[in-house]
Amino acid sequence: MRALAVAALLASACAHTDYVPEVVARGELVLQQRRGGLEMWAANQRVARSIEWRGLESFVRCVPDAQRHAQQARRDGRASLALAIVGGSLGVASLGSLGGLADEPHRFDWLGAAAGAAALGAVAAGLSRLYRNRANGHAVDALDFYNDAAGSRGAACD
């Protein structure tokens, strides 16, 4: 039963879209969920993808609201990536500090350092998740504003 629950969790964590839209206007952005995360496509070419959403800002530059959200998506995505690296690094450092358990006289000092690093890492990892959600949200808003003004009408910023 536990194995099934773990398998279901892993399967849901790797969920992706199965349907590829066919009736799409020339410059229209289409959202897809792939194994690497959310992606945006136009004219059968990938425009941008999570986390950083590089390329989205220039693609939607002719729609001010969309460009504003795309810029924020890029900023939040970069912050998320940086915080994820910091959080993961602190987690690894914390595990390394546990090697100090062999230092009998300073065992609790090492444990305290490990706990402190792990706590900071947890905060950084949590903030990374927050910024990633914000980046994805702004990117989806950019898609919607752009499609309303240009994409779904067959126009593009190029």
């Binding site: 959202l31 987690g91 914390s94 706990a115 792990a118 706590a119 990892a125 903030l127 998740r129 959600n133």
Partner: protein
């Protein structure tokens, strides 16, 4: 301890976040929307018929559901478990609190220190968005838009 609990609260709340500032107009075209940590669609705000709903499902699930074969199985009752022998209670005189607490606290602390870094790495690497819900919502809205733009489907309309 207070700092740790504040940090833990921040971590828990950090999984939540942004809700779309975009408000979809009622023009018959489905859009994706971001809610906290996953994608939703606005199909619930579009007046679509049951036939259209079924067409969306058929489009996103092209393989017909397999007919259930007649089960030739019967419910198998669980095996009877033998009665558990009672262990005689130890006397209270054998219990020594002083030698119990210290190693317990140390082990608990070590367990916490072992668990936290693993959580750090998992949270840092994991994707917070609910991918299953997002994928389903995206498939439904893309399928609906295709059906709405094609003539002769249960969802046909003059969608932009």
């Amino acid at each position: 301890m207070r700092r740790l609990s504040r940090a833990a609260t921040l971590v828990i709340l950090a999984g939540c976040g942004y809700t779309s500032q975009y408000r979809p107009p009622a023009d018959g075209r489905a859009r994706p929307l971001w809610r906290q940590d996953h994608v939703e669609n606005d199909l619930g705000q579009i007046p679509i018929t049951r036939a259209c709903v079924e067409a969306i499902y058929a489009t996103t699930h092209p393989e017909p559901p397999r007919a259930r074969a007649r089960a030739a199985q019967f419910w198998i009752p669980p095996p009877a478990t033998p009665p558990v022998a009672r262990v005689a209670d130890r006397g209270a005189d054998d219990y020594e609190a002083a030698s119990f607490v210290d190693p317990f606290l140390t082990r608990g602390f070590i367990a916490m220190v072992l668990l936290l870094p693993i959580l750090d790495i998992v949270f840092a690497a994991d994707r917070p968005e609910l991918e299953h819900f997002s994928a389903e919502a995206i498939d439904d809205l893309n399928a609906y838009n295709d059906l709405a733009r094609r003539a002769g489907t249960p969802c046909s309309q003059r969608a932009p």
